[in-house]
Symmetry: C2
Subunit: 457 residues, 2 copies
């Protein structure tokens, strides 16, 4: 008998799950229905800053697979359908077409919740003014690009100094804007320790970005014409013609929570290793709406990142398709770029380690990413955390120029494998003058961390 | 009582060992004497192609630490001293100064053999003609640069298509030469499988390098004036104004072998994990003159690479200094660059796996090193070998453009940790559009390798 898989959310997790399930089970065996409340499927939200900045010329380049392409595979994609109620006991859900108001109940044998995340929008005066832009969806990107094209002013304020904030700063610089980043932390990029964040601030300032820290935004002020005039933060006024919000996202679990599904401390759905919602045999969830296990701390976290979302979808689809796949967890790797500055991190920061009772030592080194005798060898700073006594690697943060960012992968794999920093000192990493000094910067950091472990005892 | 450490060979291993030992033990505790037959200490032989090619302007930029700097640390560096005999029973060695013919016996408490490797120079007609250049030492580099500056012809033949061969091809292109590479393999870069080597050949041809494979050189012909005219290989004549030898190196163990020290199947000294020569408590060896354990195959290999040599020196120096350090082995990582082509490998090739009785599957994929929607996203090919049944990663080869080469480090760490390709599919690697597609190419290869393991059974 034909089963029905219903997917809520048609982006990375949802469409990967659908496509992977379809690969294993044909239309006569598995009907697949996808409800997506927006206009698009399978697009790269991470690419929006590069579209705004002009690296990517057209919106459609960010779409990996269109609804039509999915339909051609026998996946019933229903755009502009919002799922408004989940009836777990009845194995069905209620969807609504905003355009017509029509509501429909649809039963499922398997359900995939891939509802993603929603941008955090603090309830500030002026937050809903035209000219205040999020950058989570293609519609957001389109609106921002139209506003930038139509705008006459040249002053932009970015609220938030995380990955999206700094990437948007670069995009706006490329479009000729004077950019101010207003953020609440001591240093930008709070996913790094402050002593590494300061390097990001200095680099941003070197790009003529006005970086304003320790500043909670209190108001976005508009003129009588309704247009934005300024952002107020910590008692200071920052003139603005356009405002971009990059404050972060929270898991979108309204539907799931109303249905009584288990939600974790960080607001995300809880799943098992196979990405089934804990306690449910036929409900699966993945991507930005779930919490994941942090393999280093042993705690659950919420991380909104396309690479995890795609993996989750692939795993869910394989399992529904009759195969077997699991997601063991994350080590918290992230990398970003603003102009020629590369920023990366994996594992625990100092405060993460403290929060879970891990005692640690740190080692910070400066090196070049190529042989130092090559001209203009780019400089990078590597900070490494290792557990006291055991010497187990706990985390790595990197700030530098070309060749810096993806070196974090060395540490990501070492963390996954549970290596000690002593074991890392003899890693057989690729060496040639255009790629690395004879001691790769990660090895230099590991050697210093070994000494720190020994000295601290 | 003051002990004496004698080091034979003043480059990476020898001087690292000396400097590291000195860090732990002062002059009153440990006298350190280094015999070096050349003119320099601690230089980067790997940098010679970049000096010849003009990236590095001066010879001295390749010198990490001069004899004077070492002497200032209390290390007695004796240049132009050749060690000609080792008396293990007597704990002493005999050195000679070629300039004067003076010979001296010097006793040691600890001995470090860091005699390096010698270039392979086949006994061919014309091999010793002026205009035939090695590129192993700074003297070699200096001679080649002088010859190129003085030369009028513009045709260069590089013999050998390994790392040095292709790097020298780039250097000669940069100097305006028409370059022919003559090599004996089916494809260049025999450290790769031929199906990956073919990509290197095509890229070299794209750079207008004339690549002549399956061709053993039989003669280097000179004119009546003694100058080089052509290289003959496999019955064909390749006109040449200058010839560069990049055929490879063999461990230089003449001294050690004459003293009865243990030599392995590949001609290198055998050591234990602490880098002591097997069976000797106070004789240490490292760098290009030793064999190392291949952690993937379980066999010993000879690998001449500065990064290993430096690690060995540091480990030896720590142990002599009263500390503790070991070298577990290598996984066989190497990376190289020729113009914008990046070539990397780690672990076993197909023939390596067969040679040690490992059954395997392969997976080859093409991907971009950045998000595909970014303009000019560079393309790369990744080949992965996994053990049949177990799915253990056995090796990775990468050929591509920017961002390709150092991705081999992901596989190098995974090999060290003994990961399976299934475990690799969920590695938490750095993702952002300028750094990677949402599925890193290494993950794409791992997924395909998982399918291959399953299909092969």
């Amino acid at each position: 008998m034909t089963q029905r898989l219903v997917v809520v959310g048609g982006d990375a997790t949802g469409m990967s799950a659908a496509a992977q399930a379809r690969r294993h089970r044909d239309v006569s065996d598995l009907e697949i229905v996808v409800f997506e409340r927006g206009h698009f499927t399978s697009y790269s939200a991470c690419g929006i800053p590069y579209w705004v900045g002009g690296h990517v010329r057209e919106r459609d380049h960010l779409i990996a697979r269109t609804p039509e392409e999915h339909r051609a595979l026998g996946i019933d994609v229903r755009l502009r359908h919002e799922v408004v109620e989940l009836d777990v006991a009845g194995g069905r859900l209620r969807s609504r077409e905003p355009a017509t108001g029509t509501e429909t109940w649809t039963g499922y044998d398997h359900l995939v919740l891939a509802t993603g995340a929603r941008p955090i929008r603090p309830a500030l005066p002026g937050i809903d003014a035209p000219g205040v832009h999020g950058v989570q969806t293609l519609d957001d990107g389109e609106a921002l690009i139209a506003a930038l094209a139509a705008g006459t002013g040249r002053r932009a304020v970015v609220v938030g100094a995380g990955y999206i904030g700094v990437e948007m700063a670069e995009a706006l610089i490329r479009r000729g804007y004077e950019v101010t980043i207003v953020h609440s932390g001591a240093q930008p990029m709070s996913t790094l320790d402050p002593d590494m964040g300061v390097l990001v601030r200095e680099a941003l300032q070197g790009l003529d970005v006005n970086v304003v820290g320790d500043s909670e935004v209190t108001e976005i002020r508009t003129g009588d014409d309704g247009r934005i005039r300024a952002v107020f933060a910590a008692g200071r006024e920052h003139p603005a013609d356009v405002v971009v919000l990059g404050i972060g996202v929270a898991p979108e679990t309204t539907l799931a929570a109303a249905a009584g599904l288990p939600i974790g401390n960080h607001g995300g759905l809880l799943t098992d290793s196979a990405m089934r919602v804990t306690g449910y045999d036929n409900i699966w969830a993945g991507g930005d709406c779930v919490e994941v296990l942090d393999l280093v701390s042993g705690m659950r976290r919420h991380i909104a990142l396309g690479t995890h979302a795609n993996k989750h979808g692939q795993i869910i689809g394989a399992n529904i398709g009759g195969g077997y796949a699991t997601f063991p967890g994350v080590v918290g790797t992230a990398v970003s770029k603003v102009c020629d500055l590369e920023v990366a991190r994996t594992g625990l920061r100092e405060k993460d380690a403290r929060a879970v009772g891990l005692q640690y030592v740190t080692a910070t080194i400066e090196s070049t990413s190529r042989a130092g005798y090559l001209p203009d060898a780019p400089v990078m700073t590597v900070k490494m955390l290792a557990e006291r006594l055991s010497g187990r690697l706990l985390g790595v943060q990197i700030v530098g120029r070309e060749g810096a960012g993806k070196r974090v992968d060395i540490a990501a794999v070492a963390l996954t494998a549970g290596m000690t920093v002593a074991q890392m000192t003899t890693l057989d990493l690729g060496y040639a003058p255009p790629f690395s000094p004879v001691w790769d910067p990660v090895l230099v950091a590991a050697r210093k961390a070994v000494r720190a472990v020994r000295e601290r005892g």
